[in-house]
Amino acid sequence: MSLADPQPQATRHIPDRLTTPAAKMFKSWESLLLLVAVGIFILNSFASPYFLNAWNLSDATFNFTEKAMIAFAMALLIIAGEIDLSVASVIALASTMMGLVMQAGFGTPVIVITGLLTGLACGAFNGVLVTRLGLPSIVVTIGTMSLFRGISYIVLGDGAFRGYPADFAWFGQGYVFWVITVEMVIFVLLAIVYGVLLHKTNFGRAVYAIGNNATAATFSGIRVERVKMILFLLTGLMAGLAAVCLTSRLGSTRPSIATGMELEVVTMVVLGGVSILGGSGSIPGVVIAAFVMGLVTFGLGLLNVPGIVMSIVVGALLIGVIALPRIYHNLRAR
């Protein structure tokens, strides 16, 4: 066993990257997804004469903007190896609390703040159970999923809150400019904020580190519990924001509001290329996935396809887009 030759050699230079970031992006999941989005857009425009209409397209964005707000925070949470399945129930509870303060005679600012704070409180509740008691987040949030919506049912029973103030409608029904909705603007701003947070900050790097290897992250001086707590708070806050938008758009609160939305949010996140096992994924991926899901449901809606079939199509899309690269990989390995 001879050692490597002892003669001195010049310092070995290691390049930063072998492929340029642009080349990497070209081969990425996000590019594939973008292709799918463009394909669906073209299919839709052939399938229905009503598709390529600015106002119709603007309406279509409501199919994903509220879910996407939550999906951004959920993406970070899932990348860090946790999950929050209670988000739809948080919407129900937040909307109910908003209804209560509205009935008590408060105006739009208080209603909005109540919605956001309720979401934040629900996130804090989940976060404390997961980070302080060390319970698995999937179990905790399945529990709080029933709990939060249950409170909403106790308050409202079969009834509903109606009669929100007129200026409250701005969030879910308002337009900023021409066909650009308020929700669309919120969506774009949040996409930028979360994109920067995940990809350009130390906090985002910590999220990836925790999702890949929480032990090594702890040893590296990352305060794992604190990061996770912040992520639960953000997810709760986003669910509160979605509750404001959704309640404003519908103009009423029922305890069944947003039922099943948590799975659509998780679908959006996973479709966007976030590994359900944690550790990888990107915000651009989630943005494109939001458009894909919005386009599919809108296109099928224009064709008068019933809701049940729509969920089948979305499910098939999810499995298909995730399975294709794996199948391709297996075929090549043969």
Partner: protein, 508 residues
């Protein structure tokens, strides 16, 4: 081989067994003979190949060369079941048992007596289980559920399970590691019982008092090679220790002229409820302080407490003369104490993340501006330290997991050096890496010390401890057993203090 012709032929023998793993020759043509009614102790340092032998005998590993002889005939154990059918059974340190099943079910899981229609014959199973338990003197009802038993009783169930197959050869791998004094005495009685039943016993232990108490014969391995065998009556502790550690220091360690400076770190009275007790020492500038001990002596646990992964129950540290309280790894990093853990894949590196991100992770606060990462700074830092450590990698954004073990270790060391620490703790820094990388790591450690960094090196390899350390602290069972330097620092003294045989050796 040449065993005593007066003895009967061995029940089970290994003849020239070789087993190679990528980069390591775990067993190199070893010989081992086990005789009916006799206890053979297998002795060797950590990494001598003892557990590989156990796994080869029980059908978990397949040897690359050599023969296994059962009653003089060559056999193969392709599976664990095949070994069990041949009558070879092992009592491991941690046998997997099932809380919700009864004692009898635990004992016979997988090979229960069958009745008509192939269903389990429960009465027969219960009866046979009770017989085995009675046979080893365990006062346990075979019908109770396992979760109602204490730790010691569970251990007896594990032994009963090992004996539920018609065993001719019983392997005991560190069987006393988790037992109390009284339970150990009971185990000795059990060994005597098994001996009287004519079973051949292979007894693996680090504790010399145990070996002299219970074994009839010994076999010594070192670095995967057979060193010697003989009767316990004909040997002494000194001879066994010498066989274990050998004389050859076959690796070249860097020349060092130590310029030890002022005190940097003082630790006093560090204690933990279960892992370690009253650890205190000082570390000076430019010094390499070795920590030697057997596996489980509490060295890693203490180091992890020192950097705030776990909290000590008592104790204080002073760094550069100032008292510091370290509650988390983040505190330790900002204080300038860093830890390169033993378990690279779990604690050291994030294998799926790129090299440069691994290296910069603990240094991000320093490299960033207002919490925003700055890629150019990250690459510059990563390049500086990887080039200094002569890392072999295609590029800095390839995942750490794609590198060899030695290069992964270089990344982890680079990551901690990049925080510009005052004290660096290296836990088994060369474990499982190839000889070339090993030399590079050693050379680098010497360089760091020469530049004035204080180094703590935890190692279970005696040549490494002797070759690198200025001073050595030996730990045993969570306490400091000795502090050695200069002429007192020899392989024999290290092993004696680590195994706790100083006083006995003097009395003998």
């Amino acid at each position: 081989m040449g065993h005593d012709p007066a003895q009967s032929a061995p029940v089970l023998a290994l003849d020239g067994i070789t087993k190679t793993f990528p980069g390591v020759r775990a067993l190199d043509g070893v010989t081992l003979e086990l005789f009916a009614g006799r206890v053979t102790a297998l002795i060797g340092e950590n990494g001598a190949g003892k557990s590989t032998v156990v796994k080869t005998l029980t059908g978990i590993y397949q040897p690359d060369g050599g023969r296994i002889l059962l009653d003089g005939e060559a056999v193969q154990f392709p599976t664990a079941q095949a070994a069990a059918q041949a009558g070879v059974t092992a009592i491991h340190q941690e046998t997997v048992l099932f809380d919700e099943l009864s004692v009898a079910e635990n004992i016979f899981l997988g090979h229960a007596p069958k009745g008509r229609f192939g269903l389990i014959d429960r009465p027969a199973m219960h009866r046979q289980a009770q017989d085995i338990l009675d046979g080893i003197g365990a006062e346990i009802d075979a019908g109770v559920r396992l979760k109602d038993l204490g730790i010691a009783s569970r251990h007896l169930v594990a032994i009963a399970r090992a004996l539920s197959v018609e065993a001719r050869v019983v392997i005991m791998d560190e069987p006393t590691a988790a037992l109390s004094r009284k339970e150990i005495e009971e185990l000795y009685e059990l060994v005597e019982t098994l001996k009287a039943q004519g079973k051949a016993i292979l007894f693996i232990s680090h504790k010399f008092d145990e070996i002299f108490r219970i074994a009839d014969r010994y076999t010594v391995f070192r670095d995967g090679q057979f060193i010697g065998t003989g009767e316990m009556a004909d040997t002494s502790e000194a001879e066994l220790v010498q066989m274990m550690v050998g004389r050859s220091v076959d690796q070249i360690y860097p020349e060092r002229s130590t310029q030890v400076g002022d005190e940097v770190l003082t630790v006093a009275g560090y204690s933990h409820p279960t892992e370690f007790e009253d650890i205190g020492f000082t570390l000076r500038r430019g010094e390499i302080l070795g920590f030697y001990g057997l596996v489980g002596a509490g060295r890693s646990e203490f180091m992890q407490s020192l950097i705030g992964v776990t909290r000590p129950s008592k104790g204080a540290i002073r760094l550069d003369g100032k008292v510091r309280v370290i509650r988390s790894p983040a505190d330790a990093i900002s204080a300038g104490i860093v830890y390169v853990p033993e378990d690279r894949g779990k604690q050291g590196a994030i294998l799926d993340m790129p090299i440069f991100q691994n290296i910069t992770l603990p240094s991000l606060p320093r490299l960033s501006r207002n919490g925003f990462t700055r890629m150019a700074n990250e690459f510059a830092l990563a390049r500086h330290y990887t080039e200094r450590l002569d890392l072999r990698a295609a590029s800095l954004d390839t995942p750490v997991g794609s590198l060899s073990g030695g290069n992964q270790q270089k990344v982890v060391i680079a990551k901690w050096l990049a925080t510009q620490p005052k004290v660096i703790i290296l836990d088994e820094p060369t474990k499982g890496i190839d000889i070339g990388s090993k030399a590079a790591v050693h050379e680098f450690m010497a360089e760091l010390a020469a530049e004035g960094l204080s180094v703590i090196m935890v190692s279970s390899e005696i040549p490494e401890i002797l070759g690198m350390s200025d001073r050595v602290i030996v730990m045993r069972e969570g306490r400091i057993a000795a502090e050695l330097e200069g002429d007192a620092l020899t392989p024999e003294t290290l092993v004696r203090h680590a195994a706790g045989i100083t006083t006995k050796g003097a009395a003998a």
